[in-house]
Symmetry: C2
Subunit: 225 residues, 2 copies
């Protein structure tokens, strides 16, 4: 399996290549869009990994070029968190998947494999919703009633868990292991404190309240009118 990687930042590019090679792929690495496009058109790759932000022509333009030439290989985009803003809509048109930096290498590998297996179109669902609360997984952003809400990493992870299992009462032990990785201790109240912070941000000033405490059981996010 041969993969084309277009990434201008050498450090990142080298690590990408190294990791993919270790995983058993053949990798062509180039540092700018023009070379990338050229290589994509002259060589036969099974997949392309494109950084969006590239000097000269950007990843998006490279994709256009590839598609215009009639090549239908799956394309995985890499985007920095903030470059993303007004570009997202564009992705609908042609990218097969994207990853927001920073990401774990294992994540990249998983997506690459999934794209190769399924021959493209692996896009994940990008939003989680409950009423007027919306969580944008791609941009890692949250809004309620259209109003943007800034969450920290832990808060986001907690809310994501609650939203993914909407309606289920999640015991503390589950929350602890999911959001805090390690945990099975009882003499701490990190969870309560985190829930409180989250409530202040997503429930305070809004109706109805979405996070409910179930005494003796845990917490649920559910729509109670």
């Amino acid at each position: 399996m041969k993969i084309l990687v277009v990434e201008d930042e050498p450090k990142t590019g080298i690590y990408l290549k190294q990791g993919l090679v270790e995983a058993g792929f053949v990798v062509d690495l180039v540092e700018n869009g023009l070379d990338g496009l050229h290589l994509a058109l002259t060589e036969a790759h099974d997949l392309a990994v494109l950084d969006v932000m590239l000097p000269g022509i950007d990843g998006w333009q490279v994709l256009q070029g590839i598609r215009r030439a009639g090549k239908d290989i799956p394309v995985l985009f890499l985007t920095a968190r903030d470059q993303l803003e007004d570009r997202v809509k564009g992705f609908e048109l042609g990218a097969d998947d994207y990853l927001v930096k920073p990401f774990a290498f294992s994540e990249l590998l998983a997506r690459v494999r999934s794209l190769l297996r399924r021959g493209g179109k692996a896009k994940e669902s990008e939003f989680l919703r409950a009423l007027d609360l919306e969580l944008d997984l791609l941009r890692r952003r949250v809004t309620r009633s259209g109003k943007r809400i800034d969450l920290t990493a832990k808060e986001f992870a907690l809310l994501e868990l609650l939203l993914r299992r909407q309606g289920e009462v999640l015991p503390r032990s589950l929350i602890a292991s999911q959001v805090w990785d390690m945990n099975f201790d009882s003499d701490t109240n990190v969870i309560e404190v985190a829930i409180k912070r989250l409530r202040i941000k997503i429930d305070e000033g809004f109706e109805p309240k979405l996070i409910r405490t179930v005494r003796g059981m845990g917490y649920v996010l559910e729509i109670t009118d």
Copy 2:
């Protein structure tokens, strides 16, 4: 497979039971050492999970009772981080494995399965060493030249990684993914900062220096005389 759980704190006990039942085990849960011992002697369990700290007779005494009665079932101990101090040596005598709270439930499950599979004796190696630097995985403590050093969670994780792969140059990308879970960003210097903090704690005031920077490659922990 039937498991005996002896845990006095109801919350923890219930979660343990719940989790183990979900994993397909039959679970007897009791809240004190005496009941635990009684049940262990009258019923046939395949494994026992004992909290060390119990009202009345403690986990250790329960184990003794079980062994005296000639029962040879594997025993997994649960210990709080600080109760551990002067008890550890005792474990050599009869416990098959132990887990320090707080721990991830998945961790417990893994150990339970391993004990059941191998029919006991799954003890992990508990120390990592390099010269006069010693890292005690069980107690999560570090000493250099006998002098105790307090490390934070991240510092510990970083040092553990360096020690486990002693002599290998670890590229930043590897460190980032191992210690920081998510990561593949270049515009951050968390790693440098963490290395610096770690150096201050384990290398400053000692000789030789153990952590070495390999320019352009990463960091190694190695013994250079």
